[in-house]
């Protein structure tokens, strides 16, 4: 499949989580209004088992940012944090034997995506290839058919936070929002 960008379908679960985040950030009233104003094809009647166009995801995130005076990228990063929290709460067994942030980042591509494919064989998943450059340094190559690298950025930050470490997450190679290499350097 060569579709890149906003036509690519996104798993419904991402939408339902985004709306939960929106409720949390702006309140139900504001979110209802925001969705009414956007006049989406799906009418925002999302279900976690469906698939919806990525363009709707970007529209919602942009509108949510505008409401709070931040960019779409900011919302994506916030959403990355949110999703990692939900994931670790809901699937504790994935996290149990991962002792460092890097351990957890490494298995997104392998263990987590393998599980997702069992439930949704048609899912078009992004790749999160990792490479350890030293005890405190890791490279993560985000590649997707969707332009959501800031979401990935938020995911990395949340992961560091969860393990109580600080560090710098820098874009080492910028091939656009759907193909980016992050350089993660922990601080001691």
């Amino acid at each position: 499949m060569n579709r890149v960008g906003l036509e690519v379908p996104v798993k419904g679960m991402i939408f339902t989580e985004l709306l939960d985040l929106a409720d949390h950030l702006a309140g139900e009233e504001a979110v209802d209004k925001l969705l009414d104003d956007l006049d989406l094809d799906s009418d925002a009647a999302y279900t976690s088992v469906g698939n919806y166009p990525c363009s709707e995801l970007v529209q919602i995130m942009t509108a949510l940012g505008a409401q709070s005076g931040v960019s779409c990228d900011e919302v994506q990063r916030e959403f990355g944090h949110w999703v990692l929290g939900i994931f670790t709460d809901r699937y504790p067994h994935f996290v149990k034997d991962k002792h460092t942030a890097f351990d957890l980042l490494e298995v997104i591509e392998t263990e987590v995506h393998a599980e997702v494919r069992k439930l949704y064989p048609d899912a078009e998943l992004p790749t999160f290839r990792t490479r350890r450059l030293g005890p405190d340094r890791m490279e993560m190559h985000y590649h997707s058919e969707r332009p959501l690298r800031s979401f990935c950025h938020g995911l990395i930050e949340a992961c560091l936070q969860r393990y109580g470490v600080t560090g710098q997450v820098r874009i080492a190679q910028d091939n656009g929002a759907s193909d980016t290499v992050f350089d993660i350097q922990l601080e001691r």
């Binding site: 409720d23 949390h24 950030l25 702006a26 309140g27 139900e28 009233e29 504001a30 209802d32 969705l35 009414d36 009418d43 925002a44 009647a45 999302y46 279900t47 976690s48 088992v49 469906g50 709070s68 931040v70 900011e74 919302v75 916030e78």
Partner: protein, 453 residues
């Protein structure tokens, strides 16, 4: 971004409710769709499994049928060979018997030469027939190895006598070593052992033009090793792999030059292997060949000893008195052969054509020995033997020796005969010496009694 303060109201907006409801309906629609897909995939799998089952059943049936067909074909081949062997041996019996007797009549040199050619050709044909039968038995895994007591030293001495003579005729030297340590009584299959030794020595003689042949024998832990070394041309390295394959003399020109079927070594190797050994080739120093056969023999049964024919030379036994001999044989040719073969001995011979007549004649006035064909009309030889045994038992008469004359001499059939009242058998085509020896062996005890009395 700061989170919105918790929304206090218990109620949600109509729009939110509608959205959630449509979301739920959409989820249900997707679920239905997926359920149907799952059902269809499952049904397809079940159908596939059933068709696989059917395919396997079909294939199994085909294989079973093919196996039955192959077995039937194999059985047919064995039956055909047994039948053909019988059919060929019977006329061959006539040819060889008559040629033997003919050669003993007053003939001029040219006629004698002709009679010799008939004899040699007939014996060649018989050897070929035996080889083909042996090979088919080996292929059908029906080659049987006997386990009987025999005189090993004597068997080797007999081979030496035969081949010393042949070597002398061809101007070759012949040497035998190791025979001093051989036991005179041992268990095994003397006929198969003789076949192997004779095959190796014949080959060595056949291919050696000058020099000689050396036969070395040794027995270690009941493993007999027979090594035959010759000073012939040897076997080229590129042709050694074909040595033990049936019908594959290393070179087609060999068949023209030396004759033979190319079955001998293949059969000998299989015989050795059936006897727990092997037959191998290695080049001899100086260019000849060494064929080494090994065969496992066993210690003699305690208490049993071979009948010592040394005291019963057949001429002496058959000449001890005018024995009354009954011959039951339906074929006129065979009757004539037996009559002529036994002519040199002064015997009182009575001929009958079937088993019923044999029983009748013997019961009327008992004979000293009966030669019994197996396949006869009215009553076959086995039934006749069995009737005679019953009658002997009933009236407490002495047991008459019965020798079966058989054309289908499979080992297991012979042991069947021995259980059914037959004392010994002589295979057709009957050779005078074999027949005379077998008769003498049966009459030996009575001869001793005669001599002593």
């Amino acid at each position: 971004m700061e989170p919105f303060p918790p929304f206090k109201s218990e109620r949600v907006s109509r729009r939110r409710y509608e959205r959630e409801r449509r979301g739920r309906q959409e989820a249900e629609r997707i679920l239905e769709h997926l359920s149907r897909e799952l059902y269809e995939a499952n049904a397809a799998l079940k159908a596939q499994a059933a068709s696989l089952e059917e395919t396997v059943r079909h294939r199994t049936e085909e294989l079973r049928a093919a196996k039955v067909a192959a077995e039937t074909a194999s059985d047919a081949k064995s039956a055909f060979l047994a039948m053909i062997s019988h059919e060929i041996r019977t006329p061959l019996n006539g040819v060889l018997g008559m040629a033997t007797v003919l050669a003993e009549t007053e003939l001029d040199a040219v006629q004698m030469d002709m009679a010799e050619v008939i004899l040699t050709s007939g014996n060649g044909l018989l050897a070929l027939l035996n080889d083909v039968l042996d090979l088919s038995k080996i292929e059908a895994r029906q080659m049987e190895i006997e386990e009987i007591g025999f005189d090993l030293a004597n068997l080797m001495a007999e081979q030496r006598r035969i081949f010393e003579l042949r070597a002398a005729e061809k101007g070759l030297s012949f040497r035998m070593s190791g025979q001093a340590g051989l036991p005179s009584y041992i268990q095994g299959d003397p006929n198969r052992l003789r076949q192997v030794v004779s095959n190796l020595l014949s080959n060595a003689m056949k291919f050696t033009a000058k020099g000689g042949v050396h036969l070395d024998v040794s027995l270690d832990q009941w493993l007999l090793t027979v090594a035959v070394t010759d000073t012939g041309p040897g076997v080229p390295e590129t042709k050694r792999h074909k040595l033990f394959k049936p019908f594959s003399q290393t070179d087609a020109s060999i068949t023209r030059q030396y004759g033979g079927t190319g079955l001998g070594l293949a059969i000998s190797r299989q015989v050795c292997r059936l006897m727990g050994g092997d037959l191998v080739f290695r080049p001899a120093r100086g260019g000849g060949s060494v064929f080494t056969a090994t065969m496992r023999l066993s210690p003699p049964n305690v208490g049993a000893a071979p009948v010592d024919l040394g005291h019963c030379p057949f001429q002496k036994v058959l000449g001890a008195r005018r024995w009354r001999i009954l011959v039951a044989e339906d074929s006129e040719t065979n009757r004539k052969v037996v009559e002529l073969l036994l002519k040199p001995f002064d015997l009182d011979i009575r001929m009958v054509f079937d088993g019923a007549q044999a029983v009748e004649q013997h019961l009327a006035r008992p004979f000293d020995l009966i030669l019994m064909d197996v396949n006869m009309p009215v009553m076959n030889g086995l039934a006749a033997a069995s009737l005679i045994r019953q009658e002997e038992e009933r009236i407490g008469a002495e047991r008459v020796p019965i020798i079966a004359l058989t054309a289908n001499a499979m080992t297991h059939q012979v042991s069947d005969y021995l259980r059914q009242g037959i004392d010994a058998h002589v295979a057709k085509p009957v050779r005078r010496e074999d027949l005379a020896r077998a008769m003498a062996l049966q009459l030996c005890e009575q001869t001793r009694a005669l001599m002593q009395g």
